[in-house]
Symmetry: C2
Subunit: 188 residues, 2 copies
DNA sequence: TTACAATTGTGATGTTTGTCACGCGCAGAT
DNA sequence: ATCTGCGCGTGACAAACATCACAATTGTAA
């Protein structure tokens, strides 16, 4: 069952009784999205923080020239949103869009705040997740600082071997910060 | 007084009574470091998480070729460490070193855990700080994706105008991910 | 099936950036 | 005062990467 997946995910970090988990899960809604659907659209309010049960999302920034830049892929077990817009109640600067059909649990800011204040363990959970995310971002920054396109590509494939089959190369390129053509030439 | 600075900093995010703050500050030690001193050395254990009262630090990754890459500058009011090494009790992969004489408050992992479990408000504080840090890292990633060396340089100067006078251009270059020579040519 | 859009590879060429080399000015040490 | 190392600029050249153009293939919807 879908809710079991979230439970197991959370219990990798903190312990929850069944009652506590019922309380947790009552704060989430569930949603199905189809390929190419938007969960968050640039310029609009960000209503939710998402937990990806299955599928694949891209967090995208569109620059002035209309180019897409992938800030993050969000796959199974990932938590994703436009966090700045979500927490500050401002308009989204990024979009969150399905690469594949995707199942998510959705958490409004209101419910997020209720949840962490009524069940402090969940604040611990989110803190640990946030720290992990911060460390992951630092590693990505480091890969920009230390590595060229080919090395970054190899690191990505090593870290997420699945991604190679699941997403078009154009998207990998715009995650790595190189042109589609350059990425294509790296394989040879 | 120095402890007042930390108090004001924390109170921008959460409210604390005087007793609570005494409790908080009892978990920190205070330390002075001189220019070029190391707070964290690559390969060693990371004993502390630091709050910078005054001065300036660099969080540095040394690559295989001996090149330095600056993951972060840590200035007044910043929290810094090699977080992965700190939280997982592994050896540091990065170094934290003084660019200027620096005053810091130091928090051991033991005291961190005591602090957040005995005073849940502090867990809220660190969660909010961590989220901000995560958002900041994402913006840095975005600047690598969307901008060339000149644009990144201008963004950096806009964000931290002080930095230009306080640190050698070589360090700015290794923060921006360009060579010293390229950075030098950008000014013209 | 048929038609059309999306994906990918690849050549030619230009731009950006890195590397190596050198010189100058300045601050700190002796 | 002299020496020495560091910071900084700059020229010459090489490497990495972007851009534009075109073709082939595959997936997808009517």
């Amino acid at each position: 069952m879908l809710k079991e997946k979230l439970k197991k995910h959370i219990e990798k970090v903190i312990q929850l009784t069944n009652d506590e988990y019922s309380f947790v899960s009552s704060h989430f809604s569930f949603e199905n999205y189809k390929k190419n659907d938007f969960l968050i659209q640039k310029g609009e309010n960000v209503k939710h923080f998402y937990y990806v049960v299955s599928g694949l999302l891209k967090l995208v920034y569109d620059d002035i020239d209309g180019k897409q830049h992938i800030v993050s892929f969000a796959m199974e077990d990932w938590w994703e949103s436009d966090f700045l817009a979500y927490f500050t109640k401002t308009k989204a600067t990024m979009s969150l869009q399905c690469i594949e059909d995707t199942h998510v649990f959705c958490l409004t800011l209101e419910n997020y705040e209720k949840l962490i204040s009524d069940l402090p363990k969940m604040e611990s959970f989110f803190l640990k997740k946030s720290i992990s995310g911060h460390i992951a971002s630092q590693n990505r920054i480091l890969s920009f600082l230390t590595s060229n396109a080919k090395e970054r590509y190899e690191q990505l494939l090593k870290q997420y071997p699945l991604l190679f089959q699941r997403v078009p190369k154009t998207l990998l390129a715009s995650y790595l910060g190189v042109s589609r053509e350059t990425l294509s030439r790296l394989s040879s």
